[in-house]
């Protein structure tokens, strides 16, 4: 079966979710682009958008239409070529309009899981619950009228476990997109022990057609992305808790967040990142990964406290705006930090002077991440920057260097443990998936 034929009938499970909607969008466009090639004329390309919520499916169609418009406007040069035989489509506006129609016509929203029985390719983007995934995948596999391939978007569950428990006979591959799939360039591909090679070859071609950066990860819980992020987050939490021994936890969270954003020049501080992903999501991912890690404990009581006792979970509102978590947000910018003891948010203005004085001055050449990320010669900049940091002698520099070294250790351990094939892959994930300006495995502080 050739590449295009695999897309004859596709299903996305959890299509209306954050990740599922992006996967549906990208796949529907890829299928439409294939359908417009002369050699595929007359072939059927159908994609079933399966979800449990009827309302969410309605919202999904609106989302997809808006995103296809954006994508079509960016790739109109290509679209003019694809539609060149259509003499009735002359202006860019007409071609873009036709492309949107062609993509939308392909999508069949449904609440009915059984629709997947006809699909040769199934993307699974449902809740990160191993038992639920196994139940659904095995149900489809047993009733399928064809030989389905399963691409799971799990970010933490070993593929081999899903394969064995669902009885899929190697017809499952981890294809882990980053949030949001429409924008994020990174895809981690995770092969289980028995995964058939054909799935890997296909997935690589598919990802490259979507212009994604493909990084292979070995089949260990959390893979590279969450393997680094969860441990990095735990370190940040523990550092904040240590700082709280002399001040308050609110002070500690503020200082660690500031260090990781401004002193390590990341797109956002570690606590803001936890809020962005969702405190409950981080808690859940850790709980999924932890049973597979006998030599370490991937758990934080502080996360439990926030989610279970305080009912604060971060994440996003339906309009994409940031919900309050460890930090409070106004127009998506953090303005306060949660004080667990007082059970309320403390404005930055109440604590920032004291915290900033304690941290001291950052290196003179410090720049915001926004300024650095677009620079051509970042290596040169960071070499100078971290050299300065080594000489700064401030408390903030000490915290930042410790954090950087720990981040590097986590990265190197992912390679040593066989999760990542090499250091470059670890760095690629953090650079591409987390928008870091430099990889965690580097020599800047040597």
């Amino acid at each position: 079966m050739n590449y295009a034929d695999k897309f004859t009938n596709v299903t996305v499970l959890g299509a209306a979710g954050k990740m599922g909607s992006g996967i549906l969008l990208l796949t529907a466009m890829e299928m439409t682009d294939l359908s417009l090639k002369p050699e595929n004329r007359g072939k059927q390309f159908v994609i079933n958008a399966v979800d449990v919520s009827s309302d969410a499916l309605l919202g999904l169609m609106g989302y997809v239409r808006a995103q296809v418009l954006k994508a079509a406007e960016k790739k109109v040069v290509i679209l003019r070529e694809l539609y060149k035989e259509r003499s009735d489509l002359i202006e860019n506006g007409e071609i873009i309009g036709q492309y949107i129609d062609d993509v939308m016509l392909r999508i069949r929203p449904t609440l009915n899981l059984d629709t997947a029985f006809d699909s040769t390719l199934i993307f699974e983007a449902i809740k990160e619950d191993p038992k639920l995934k196994v139940q659904i995948l095995s149900y489809i596999n047993k009733n399928s009228k064809t030989i389905p391939w399963f691409f799971t978007n799990t970010s933490s569950i070993p593929i081999g476990e899903l394969d064995a428990d669902a009885g899929l006979g190697g017809k499952i591959l981890g294809v882990h997109f980053y949030n949001p799939p429409a924008v994020q360039r990174l895809v981690e591909i995770i092969k289980g022990e028995n995964t058939l090679d054909d799935l890997v070859n296909f997935a690589v071609m598919y990802s490259k057609n979507l212009r994604k950066v493909v990084v292979p990860s070995n089949d260990f819980a959390g893979f590279i992305g969450n393997g680094h992020f969860m441990r990095d987050a735990l370190y940040g939490i523990r550092e904040a808790e240590k700082l709280a021994e002399k001040r308050t936890l609110a002070h500690g969270i503020y200082m660690v967040n500031k260090i990781t954003q401004d002193w390590l020049i990341r797109p956002m501080g570690i606590f803001q990142l936890i809020d962005y992903v969702g405190i409950d999501v981080c808690q859940y991912i850790m709980s999924v990964m932890d049973p597979y890690l006998p030599d370490e404990e991937l758990h934080s009581e502080l996360l439990d406290e926030m989610v279970t006792k305080q009912g604060i979970s971060g994440g996003q509102n339906s309009d994409g705006s940031q919900k309050d978590g460890f930090l409070k947000y106004e127009k998506n910018r953090p303005v306060a930090v949660f004080d667990v003891k007082m059970k309320q948010y403390v404005p930055f203005s109440d604590i920032e002077n004291e915290c900033d004085d304690a941290l001291g001055q950052p290196p003179a050449s410090v720049k915001p991440w926004k300024s650095v990320i677009g620079e051509a010669d970042k290596e040169d900049y960071f070499t100078r920057f971290f050299n300065e940091m080594k000489q700064t002698g401030s408390y903030g520099a000490e915290l930042a260097m410790n954090y950087s070294n720990r981040s590097k250790e986590i990265g190197k351990k992912l390679v040593a443990d066989g999760v990542a094939q090499n250091q470059e892959d670890v760095n690629a994930v953090l650079l591409t998936g987390f928008y870091h300006a430099y990889g965690p495995i580097n020599n800047y502080l040597d």
């Binding site: 406007e73 109109v76 040069v77 290509i78 002359i90 202006e91 860019n92 506006g93 873009i96």
Partner: protein, 412 residues
Amino acid sequence: MKLRRKVYMTAGYNTVSLGTGRMEFHPKKERPGIEHYIREAGQGTLSRIGGSKNVDESVIGNFMASRFNKQANLAAFIPYIDDGLLYKPAIRVEGACGTGGLSLVSGIRSVLAETAEVVLSLGVEVQNSVKAIYGADILAGAGWFRERKNGHAYFFPGQFSNRAGAYFEKFGREKTRRAFARWYRNAIENARLCPTAQEYHNTCRDLEALAMTEPNPKAFVDHLNVYDCSKVSDGASAIAIVSEEGLERIGIAKKDAVEIVCFAQIEGDITKQPADPTVLDTTKRVVEAAIQSAGISIHDLATIETHDCFTIAGILATEAIGFAKHGEGPDFVLEGNTARDGMIPFNTTGGLIGWGHPTGATGVHQAVTIWEQMTGCAGDAQIKITGEKPYGLTVNMGGDDKTLVAIIYKKS
């Protein structure tokens, strides 16, 4: 050939050329509509000529308000400028990017025909009403619609990219691209001296390095980058076209006006491709006609406003006008001849690339710049105009070298 009576232009006015590059431009915020620009430019000129009571006729140039702004019947906006223009004659003219030149020519003809002593000539375009990808469709109307299908997504950049590609093949890519970059640098350095210019706020340190960015055929056209292209602009310009009697009526001295020596206006065939894409043939003919009619040589010109819709158009114009031989335009530009301190300053307020290109207004803007230079009111952008070279030239082009207007001006 002398004009049958003396004609002058005076009291020019430009609005800001608004679009990307200007600090006050926000694509998602509401911006002034076309009527605002018509009124501002019109009032700008009227305020300097004693008011609307002195105006006999008006002409308004606009390319595609019917698509950009869903608005036609633009002559009916003339009374909106000032109540004193109510029930006076007004027409609208169109010639793609050569529209402004046609507005000027129409005004000149009215004065020559003695149907008017004072004509208010305007040009206006508001193009940021649509995204660039859809604007490209609208602007493609300057070409033959039957060719749109096979044209690039960005139709006119595609047309001039083809010219650039042909020029690269014939005369070499590297030097030509460096000349493009130099043209861009000259344009921006001039724009930085003109507060209404779209690139007035440009602070880039190494303009030539930026302009040497390699073209990206996947996202844009094969042989040009975005710095090779004129801006997408909202703006309007206005100027009064007057007889000697008209000058007296409006109370303006000859030294504050510029004399129109002659004009030439010709059309190429829109259905035909250029015989040689490395030559702006119609431009060459219109300039020859104007220079001959004026009885001068191009070396009597102090300054030129040429239609640099793309850097390649600027380079080709130096050859079409006759300053450089065919294939030597890049050398001419790289030697500094067209810079503001060069032998023949081109586009002293930035031209289409630096000042901006509100398509229907550009031709009038060119005349305003010449008037400013010739009467010593160009502010920081002022160049020296001596008695030895008292002439100026504007070349306004519509479509791909199809609608051409050349006007020769003389310092009074």
